[in-house]
């Protein structure tokens, strides 16, 4: 007997979970099996719409999903088992949370009746994850699964995005217990209604202040990228001819090669960006949260500036630095409304003041402008390596960074002209992020140049993923700036601990090229600056295999500029011997 079409299909909890992901449009699921999720894994086996990517450590699954989200704006999806599977995922969940990245993490849980009894592989994932998720949901009835999945995606992707955990006790997925399946079109929640537009009155005030500025700057963060407002930002900045600075999370939102771009600001920001900020009379902050790595000492932050702050999250406004004109709303519609109002405004930009301001900014550019030491030419400079990478990839690669000095060099010396191309763990600073992130991007953009910029410290935190890389044939390029030290730690020890290198030396490093080759990848070692460009070209030309590029760089190099602790945003060390 055939079922009438109106009858919903009968599926088990495990099957509903996977079908819901399919109906949500999920293509890849990153994860690792275990006891509590075996029913779900069996449901995965019975279909081919949602492809599971088997990592070697759960943390890598979260970073892969996270990087997919950073590159596309859509939530990445993770599936791990209970207990150690769940705890291993925590670092990746926290990484996504700190950078407001949408992600749905499904964690197995022991049988409902065993919860609270210290069962095998039981851990309280609801409690553990609570401080590092946007929301978490425990499944208590299998029938609820489609709704819960829809809700998880809705919460993860809307408003200020973030990770959502769904904790699934094993008995919610029993293969023999079938329920009618229907995936909801939309979710409505009385307790969660993200703001859709900014307050017009506030926007009018902001526009008027902005147009009367004599020394303006536009300071933008990850919110512009998450809010897909790069075009509007560029339009606004170019219409006004105001300087733009991006935070570490905001790089690429405004074209890095444009004349109006003054570089990244903050702890390792450019001299001109930090100077421009400090002397500004009006700061338009967009989707940025005045992080301590930006402001330095908040009490000394930009003393003359009237601050306009656009953010979707009211809690980010006036948290560290009081906003004079707060605008709560998604950046895209707010910027569109600002552009309309600017068109109609009676006040015009003060061209004379702006001309003087640009003169001043250009003078600052002349003074420092991202220079680094080149007189000791026998040593390869990490800055030069990144500049060469930028040249070889025409500034168009996805750069997935690990955490440390190499991350700062990759932020400073690669010029990002598009959003979603610079992928790094900004807020949490998670070493081990880079390789799985690059794999997540490469999987979803098979033809793109994807480079993991890393160091010999960071890469070893998730180096087991070279195996995953092989299994799925992901031709990522791993550019390891190898200086034999935990470079950023060493830099701080040089500057603050009289060069006492407590545990920052990396002894017993493997031969990375041989290691990569043992996994079936290609290894390329670069020891001299003279061979750098040719070998990078060679590495980038390999399209079907992952390449480990081990670059031996100057171990003494520091990241500059670097803010002086406790100072204003423009109090900087400019080199080992100069400070502002």
């Amino acid at each position: 007997m055939t079922q009438p079409a109106s009858e919903p299909e009968m599926l088990s909890g495990g099957e509903m979970l996977i079908r819901s992901l399919k109906d949500q449009g999920v293509k890849y699921l990153y994860g690792y099996p275990g006891g509590a999720v075996l029913h779900i894994y069996d449901a995965i086996h019975k279909q081919s719409d949602v492809q599971h990517i088997l990592v070697r450590h759960e943390q890598a699954a979260t970073h892969m999903a996270d990087a997919y989200a950073r590159a596309t704006g859509k939530a990445g999806v993770v599936l791990v088992t209970s207990g150690p599977g769940a705890t291993n995922a925590i670092t990746g969940i926290a990484t996504a949370y700190m950078d407001s990245i949408p992600m749905v993490v499904i964690t197995g849980q022991v049988m409902s009746h065993l919860i609270g009894g210290d069962a095998f592989q039981e851990t309280d994932m609801m409690g553990l994850s609570r401080p590092v998720v946007k929301h978490n949901i425990s499944v208590r009835d299998p029938k609820e699964i489609p709704n819960i999945v829809k809700k998880a995606f809705y919460i993860a992707e809307s408003g200020r995005p973030g990770p959502v955990v769904i904790d699934v006790p094993k008995d919610m997925t029993m293969p023999n217990e079938k329920f009618p399946y229907e995936y909801p079109d939309r979710i409505k929640m009385r307790s969660y209604n993200p703001v859709k537009k900014g307050h017009s009155g506030q926007i009018r005030k902001a526009v008027s202040t902005l147009l009367q500025a004599k020394r303006p700057i536009i300071y933008t963060g990850g919110g512009v990228i998450l809010g897909k407002a790069s075009k509007e930002l560029t339009h606004l900045a170019q219409q006004l001819n105001y300087p733009v600075t991006n935070t570490l999370m905001g790089l690429g939102a405004y074209p890095g090669t444009d004349r109006q771009f003054v570089g990244m600001l903050g702890m390792h920001g450019s001299y001109e960006a930090n100077m421009t900020m400090h002397h500004a009379d009006v700061i338009l902050a967009i989707g940025a949260r005045f992080d301590d790595r930006v402001t330095n000492n908040p009490a000394k932050f930009c003393p003359d500036a009237t601050i306009i702050h656009i953010d979707i999250d009211p809690a980010s406004i006036s948290k560290i630095v009081t906003a004079d004109i707060p605008i709560v709303g998604p950046v895209k519609p707010v910027l569109k409304e600002m552009l309309e109002q600017i068109d109609q405004a009676k006040i015009k930009v003060d061209e004379e003041a702006l001309g003087l301001w640009w003169e001043q900014i250009d003078e600052w550019r002349q003074r420092h402008g991202g220079r680094y030491r080149t007189d000791d030419a026998d040593r390869m400079k990490p800055q030069h390596v990144i500049e060469t990478l930028c040249k070889v990839t025409r500034g168009d690669a996805y750069i997935c960074s690990d955490v440390g000095q190499h991350q700062m060099f990759a932020a400073q010396y690669y010029q990002y002209n598009k959003p979603n191309r610079w992928i790094n763990s900004g807020g949490l600073g998670t070493m081990g992020f880079g390789l799985p992130a690059a794999m997540g991007v490469q999987l979803n953009f098979p033809d793109a140049d994807v480079v993991c910029v890393t160091g010999e410290g960071s890469i070893q935190m998730n180096i087991q993923e070279l195996s995953t890389c092989k299994q799925y044939g992901l031709p990522v390029k791993i550019l390891c700036l190898n200086n034999g030290y935990l470079g950023m730690v060493r830099q701080w020890q040089d500057m603050n601990y009289e060069s006492r290198y407590s545990n920052s030396y990396m002894d017993s490093l493997p031969d990375f090229c041989a290691l990569a080759e043992s996994y079936g990848h290609v290894g390329i070692k670069i020891e001299h600056a003279s061979e750098l460009e040719a070998k990078l070209e060679e590495a980038m030309s390999i399209r079907d295999k992952a390449v480990f590029i081990d670059v031996l760089i100057d171990p003494d190099e520091h990241v500059y500029p670097m803010q002086v602790p406790g100072g204003a945003i423009n109090d900087m060390f400019l080199s080992k011997t100069e400070r502002t």
Partner: protein
């Protein structure tokens, strides 16, 4: 400085933990807290007393509002409001003390809700100050046990915290 924040939230497992966790994670302080379902069984009302500078209180209300299960909240201390707390206090009541405790209880319009030959259990309601004053007034007696509900409150007049 002192604020009474009332929160309407989904009556779901884990919602309370989110509120308490938020205060612990962000280093905000809770002086008292109570929570119970409302006339609508799908909603709980949580009332807490906290202290902090305006900037901190602003962050507290913003972060509470961000919690997915929080439907609505009000800072009662921003307007005219009524607040009450209930305290049960068990005191040793023997000899001359027995009469003295009873007198003090009457002055504060407390009720003796349980009696033994040697103890009184007294119920007092009022705002936090009154309840504290009653505790002070009993300082001469031997207090065996104190149970306080924490402050609850509503806005005066037409205003209400409801959907």
């Amino acid at each position: 400085m002192r604020h009474i924040i009332s929160v309407l939230m989904e009556n779901e497992a884990g919602a309370l933990a989110r509120v308490v966790g938020l205060f612990a994670q962000r280093g905000y302080n809770i002086e008292s807290l109570n929570v119970a379902p409302t006339e609508d069984a799908t909603l709980s009302r949580l009332t807490l007393v906290t202290k902090g500078e305006d900037k901190v209180i602003e962050q507290i209300t913003k972060h509470l509002n961000k919690l997915i299960e929080v439907v609505k909240l009000v800072d009662l201390t921003e307007g005219e409001h009524i607040e009450r707390e209930l305290m049960m206090i068990k005191v040793r009541a023997t000899g001359a003390q027995r009469e003295e405790v009873k007198r003090t209880c009457d002055i504060f319009r407390g009720q003796i809700i349980d009696v033994t030959p040697t103890t009184y259990t007294i119920q007092v309601t009022g705002n936090e100050d009154k309840v504290n004053a009653f505790l002070d007034a009993l300082s001469g007696a031997t207090i065996m046990e104190v149970a306080r509900t924490g402050v609850s409150g509503v806005a005066r007049g037409d205003k209400s915290l409801s959907l």
